[in-house]
Subunit: 279 residues, 2 copies
């Protein structure tokens, strides 16, 4: 991996790297915030998965997370949301399929199956890469994300309960099988057999027996995509209740789907992860 | 003024307004963050003047200031950096003259003199407008800004010592008479007579007797524009020393010119202003 940017922030460094991804078969760019503590010791890492249309840039600029990461001595690992580049297929004119909309799955259907392996990328290739090259503690990582990335965080944790110490999400797409965004991407990337979709759906995974010790989810009540039926937190509540997973779903009165909502509560999410990671 | 956006953040509301500006003879857009305290009482306001190329959007998205404004019960008033619209003259292909580069002066030279009255706009028209329409305490305002906006904050305070309770700046253009950015804008907006420039130059104003009780300035040592000689903090130090103005200039080791630098220290600036405004 090649360092392409390093900016001092809150006593640590916000860095950007590029590398040739095996999983995605293209050059990928990601950002890492290393807190001041990382100068002298290895630190735990919180992975942040972003939502539709984002790159690694949105969260590092808009969420205000670095302040809290510095406070708690956590690194932030911020991947892109899809493969990129001229060779990578895209769906022109759609923000919710193709580039910027990898949906954290391994695509099996042409033309997406060559590059769109964001699930392998964020759960295997990227952690191995940053743990080899940066001062990160290998067995101390947690995961969070927003919207499509909230979905990503939930499924990554549910599918790898030993890899992540804790999981949280903002406005996650809880049950993509039942949301228009999820259906659009899953049918394109995975084909028509809906059983193959269940491997990437938080509610379906919980119903099939996947579990995590705890889950923190924030959802704004003024979120336009909540009304549209894209997010479906009630399905997550029902699945967690049935499975006995302690879910803290906090309906945040008057908040929308934007990074201003994330900025408001990211400090509490980072404290939640730090409590587990810094044990 | 017309409210065009309202987003809940940190318990308060981030709002955006448009209005027909008399000073700038065009429609202007600005943002205001009202902290939770403003729901029940009038609050003091901190004006933030942004730098070259910015609109009202950069600071509200990138600085992380709303968190601290909510904590201290201050409103943030965030104007644009120039007049806007099809009728407004611009210098195509230049980021440092015309739109996005109003430099907080009242232009006297054609074609700029009709619209480019950002000094009157930020010191007179905008305060009168927001104080009439929002829960703000009229005699409790302070001012800060970044780069061109740091210059703006310094001159607004120096020229109106009774209007602003306190002033601070990030990486300000301290002495535009001696910087390429300042010379480019002042010669275009004000003409060749350099005596007319002195009315908008912090160092020249201090040398001519303008004063403020105190001044907080943060400057990154890794700021590329510091090396380029655009910012010249040493000239401000010398002028303040001679005039007996207590200047806290903090050279921040390794920080650059970006909003990541601002985000790191904005909390301390807001605390600095709050101490005076909340007396």
């Amino acid at each position: 991996m090649i360092e392409i940017e390093s900016i001092k922030e809150f006593g640590g460094y916000l860095k950007r790297y590029s590398h040739d991804s095996q999983a995605c078969q293209c050059e990928m760019i990601f950002s890492v915030y290393l807190p001041p503590q990382a100068e002298h010791q290895s630190v735990p890492a919180l992975y942040w998965l972003s939502g539709l249309t984002c790159t690694d840039d949105n969260v590092r600029v808009k969420a205000g997370a670095q302040r809290y990461a510095a406070e708690h001595g956590l690194a932030l690992v911020m991947p892109d949301t899809s493969p990129r580049g001229h060779d990578v297929p895209d769906e022109k004119g759609r923000y919710d399929l193709g580039k910027g909309a990898g949906f954290y799955v391994n695509a099996t259907r042409s033309p997406w199956d060559r590059h769109y392996h964001m699930y392998d990328y964020v759960t295997r290739e990227l952690p191995a890469l940053v743990e080899e090259n940066l001062p990160l503690i290998t067995d101390k990582k947690s995961i969070s994300g927003h919207s499509m990335g909230g979905h990503g965080a939930l499924i990554c944790a549910l599918k790898n309960p030993h890899a992540y110490k804790s999981v949280s999400a903002f406005s996650p797409i809880c049950h993509p099988l039942q949301s228009a965004w999820g259906q659009g991407c899953f049918s394109a990337y995975l084909g028509d057999d809906q059983r193959s979709w269940e491997a990437y759906d938080a509610v379906a995974l919980i119903e099939a027996g996947s579990t995590v010790p705890d889950m923190l989810v924030d959802q704004g009540t003024a979120d336009e995509f909540l009304d549209e039926g894209q997010l479906l937190p009630e399905t997550l509540v029902a699945a967690c209740k049935k499975a006995g997973i302690p879910l803290q779903l906090r309906m945040q009165e008057g908040y929308d789907h934007s990074y201003h909502f994330i900025a408001t509560f990211i400090g509490e999410h980072i404290a939640y992860h730090a409590q587990v990671l810094n044990q």
